[in-house]
């Protein structure tokens, strides 16, 4: 009888040990991945104000930082992904040129979300437009619909991915506003890397945030505002 009790005790001990060893790394990894238990709130709307007058000609630090942060190759072939690019703009009649970074504009009414057949393109409550890589079927309709040509299609197999930024061959991707950094309380990589501090990131809904204050005081525009999409990215000096 005692023998049976002992066996049962040791079985329970072993089982508990195995369960702990199995579950613990998961819990630890969850913490390591900065997983947050609370959902994002629509009280926040993340956005940017980009000062084009300060955006230096020939400087590509934002692009380089984005590529590094998100594990992009940095290749410039038409089949390579470019989440952010510098556009050189020339106003022929005024004889003025300037440059600005262009990326996903994180629209309030994103056409990519409207056209996506599976709902893979979606807008988070805090205004960040993302692609669910597990749902994207790679039809590229969102690329046709985006007025800013902000999206790229992964044309070939990927290697050495950044674990924080999963990507997938045959799916569409674009600027995530560095959602993994935002969730960890940090700024998007491009904003942090800009040597002239031309990219101001913050909560558009918070009247006391630096970005909201500046938007009230400086003249800014949203690109293709005529389309009525209300992008989260604002530009100053166009």
């Amino acid at each position: 009888m005692n023998d049976i009790h002992n066996q049962r005790r040791s079985f329970l001990k072993t089982s508990l040990g195995v369960a702990a060893v199995t579950v613990a790394p998961g819990l630890l990894l969850f913490d390591v991945a900065h997983g947050k238990s609370e959902a994002v709130s629509s009280k926040v709307r993340w956005g940017m104000l980009i000062d084009t007058t300060n955006c230096a000609d020939g400087c590509h630090d934002c692009v380089t930082a984005c590529n590094k942060e998100n594990g992009l190759s940095g290749g410039l072939a038409p089949t390579d992904s470019q989440w952010i690019r510098k556009i050189e703009i020339k106003d022929v009649s005024a004889g003025r040129s300037f440059a600005l970074p262009m990326m996903c504009q994180h629209c309030e009414e994103p056409p990519c979300v409207d056209v996506c057949p599976t709902g893979a393109s979606f807008k988070r409550a805090d205004g960040i437009v993302l692609v669910d890589k597990h749902r994207c079927i790679g039809c590229r309709y969102c690329m046709m619909a985006c007025p800013y040509k902000a999206r790229s299609f992964v044309h070939e197999p990927l290697h050495n991915q950044n674990p924080d930024v999963p990507r997938g061959k045959g799916t569409v991707e674009s600027c995530t506003l560095c959602v993994h950094r935002i969730d960890a309380g940090k700024q998007p990589a491009c904003a942090e890397a800009c040597p002239n501090k031309s990219i101001l990131f913050g909560d558009l809904n918070d009247r006391n945030s630096e970005i909201a204050k500046k938007l009230r005081t400086v003249a800014s525009v949203q690109v293709r505002s005529d389309l009525g999409l209300n992008p989260g990215i604002h530009y100053q000096g166009i």
Binding site: L76, A77, P78, T79, D80, S81, Q82, R85, K86, I87, E88, I89, K90, D91, V92, M102, P111, V113, D114, V115, C116, P117, T118, G119, A120, R135, C136, I137, G138, C139, R140, Y141, M143, M144, A145, C146, P147, Y148, K149, R151, S152, F153, V154, H155, E156, P157, G168, K169, G170, T171, V172, V223, R224, L227, I238
Partner: protein, 398 residues
Amino acid sequence: MSTSLNSKYAALQFKNRLYYLLLAAGGLVLLAALYSVHMMESHGHIITGMNNQIVWGVPHVFAIFLIVAASGVLNVASIGSVFGKAIYKARAPLASLLSIAMLAGGLAVLMLDLGRPDRFMLPAFNFNVTSVFAWNVVLYSGLFGLVVAYLWTMMEKRMNVWTKSVGLAVFAWRFILTTGTGLIFAFLTARQAYGSAILPPMFIVLSFAWGMAVFHMVQTVMYAWNDKVLDPAIMERKKHLLGVFVLASLYMVAVYHMTNLYFAHKTGFEHFILKDGGVYPTLFWWGYVVLGNIVPLILIYLPGLGSKISALAASLTVVLGGFAFLYVFIIGGQAYPLDIFPGFQVSSTFGDGQIASYTPSVYEILLGLGGLAIAFIITTVSVRVLNFMPHDKPYIAD
């Protein structure tokens, strides 16, 4: 056995062999297409000519032609079942078969071109109601089911009483379906080439011409194969109907370009597509306007050219013109740079302000041809094992 019987037997045997040869040829093209899909699956779309600027290429030209023609070919059936014309009623089963065959081919190409073709069932489970693509998933599968039911009501005597009502449903459904196909482009507001309310009706009228042309080609081959002669009166009517459809579609395309020319923000695109864009104006004027419209209209309406051959040639040129039109519309429409900063000159590392270049690779061409092969195989096998040959009454009732 007499000599005449012997020669008849030899002719039958030849036809039998030819049939299997044709089937094998279709199968071979399909195999090549599947090989291309495998290559695209393992290497990614890098092996196609498509890129981040031209996101839809030759596979979409084939797929959209097949889907649009699949809807248009049902016109023949609708004139029979909805408007009660006897010579069209006799052709409704063949028209329905062609519709199913082309729909299957077109959808296969569309699905196999996806970045993740393994997820093709996902839209069924994660349906986004605001997506016209998602609507089309319902519209395409719905048409498939409806046309199968329509065929059943026609080919099964006991179900004949339902033919008219199911035919009416097919009639309505295909209008909505082609509207849906046009809307895929009509909803792209930001692109100069698209975003126009005229596109859905334009696609409907184009579908009439393309569907009629495909129907006429298949019917001519079937009559020749079975050593039958199509009643000249019937051919005359079909030919003229094709002529009317060609004229109507040319009118719609002209209005589409004229309205674009009138809007200042679209004139740059129109100059590109009609005049300065290299391969695109050439394909538009010579491929679509001349080969796809002028030549068939001459073949149809020029007195003394009413033969079987000229009607067949007219149909073939309409089909080729259709492909030329879609190449210009889909690929040319994307090649012209997206105007993100109207009024400014722009340049970037991502093709802003530049005409995008596109050279289709052999893989995507084979994939497109695979769609044709699917339609061909379904049609060839079906007309052999089932009775799809039109049976006209000894007199023309209407």
